[in-house]
Assembly symmetry: C2
Homo-oligomer: 212 residues x 2
């Protein structure tokens, strides 16, 4: 297992460990669940406090607004996504190996953390302009990491790609959409989807010998 | 342009032409917009009637509940998706040609009708059990049409696929997620994304000579 894959796997156990104190973390987890179930606009801070077993007044100690919760969730989610892609992109190995590692790890994360990923992806328009600009900048950095691997593969003669920009977008889109359809009641584990998708993506970039 | 592509293109002009009378269609269009902006749970029938320039009482003549609106939107959307895929799958040509046609048409539809597609995809869990079962059955038929083309391509020696079920799911997922990221302010038209994606999907199934 590569470093990037360990990072993606570890995240499933240590959910939101970066959020302290404990009360702030419990509120954040409650917010993710409420936003996923009812949508951002149908959720009140009172709902979130109630789910966390706290009073609305206790919530305001940690978060001034509902938007601050969404912003925090989105920032942590995007920073984790960027960390996974950057670790894979800057690891050792050929472009094929690094792209396969990036896709497998990114897919594992979107399957394992699908509730968070859905909130982060589908509620992007609910962020205010400043928060949104910050998140869009993180997304551009995610794109750049994947595009970098593809460009290196093309330069090395490993990949044959018609449209690097479009192919980068398609690769990220394929991985992100795992959060929409993945279910633990389905036939695959997150790791199995990661392996299948790494092979499909190597085919998309025309890698000479897909890693099987 | 193939028959399936014409069907996908035509749909962008004749939105919801199947919904009559005119008042029922206006309410349905208002519901799609409201659900997309605020989410299903944050939208009231009063909001929907207001957007359509009608009274709540006038809404109840056409739709008994908010869920009936979502169900109708979802059914029409899924029936259209199935029609596009079935037309491509059962057309003339090799498996490669039919798969490219299915992907290009399906992508055009998801790019052009992205607001409807987002509501249909993201609010699936908001449907009641009976409505949901009906929609899940339509989704299975969509899967079966794409899987059928891939199986025929494998049988004919045109495609080389490791996992037909997983690859079918990935192809549909890639197309569906276009509704999440596509923007008319982006660099591509729906038709250009369709052409790019048809090439990427032919690569995913290991088609001997991608259609370029």
């Amino acid at each position: 297992m590569s470093t990037a894959q360990e990072a993606a796997a570890g995240d499933e156990d240590e959910s939101w460990a970066e959020v302290t104190p404990d009360a702030a973390r419990r509120l954040l987890i409650a917010a993710v669940e409420a936003f996923a179930e009812r949508g951002y606009h149908a959720t009140t801070t009172r709902d979130i406090a109630g789910r966390a077993g706290m009073s609305p007044a206790a919530l305001y100690i940690h978060y001034k607004t509902k938007e601050e919760l969404l912003h925090r969730i989105s920032r942590i989610g995007h920073e984790k996504a960027l960390d996974i892609l950057r670790t894979a992109a800057r690891g050792a190995g050929t472009a094929s190996e690094r792209l396969a590692d990036a896709v497998a790890s990114f897919v594992r994360w979107h399957a394992g953390r699908r509730t968070t990923a859905r909130v982060v992806q589908y509620e992007l328009d609910s962020l205010g302009p400043d928060a949104r600009a910050e998140i869009v900048a993180l997304r551009r950095q995610c794109d750049a990491e994947v595009r970098g691997i593809i460009e290196e593969g093309v330069a090395a003669g490993e990949f044959e790609v018609l449209d690097v920009h479009g192919t980068t977008l398609a690769v990220l889109s394929l991985c992100i959409d795992v959060a929409r359809w993945f279910s633990t009641r389905g036939p695959w584990t997150p790791a199995e989807v990661g392996t299948l998708y790494a092979d499909l993506v190597l085919r998309m970039v025309g890698a000479g010998k897909p890693g099987r």
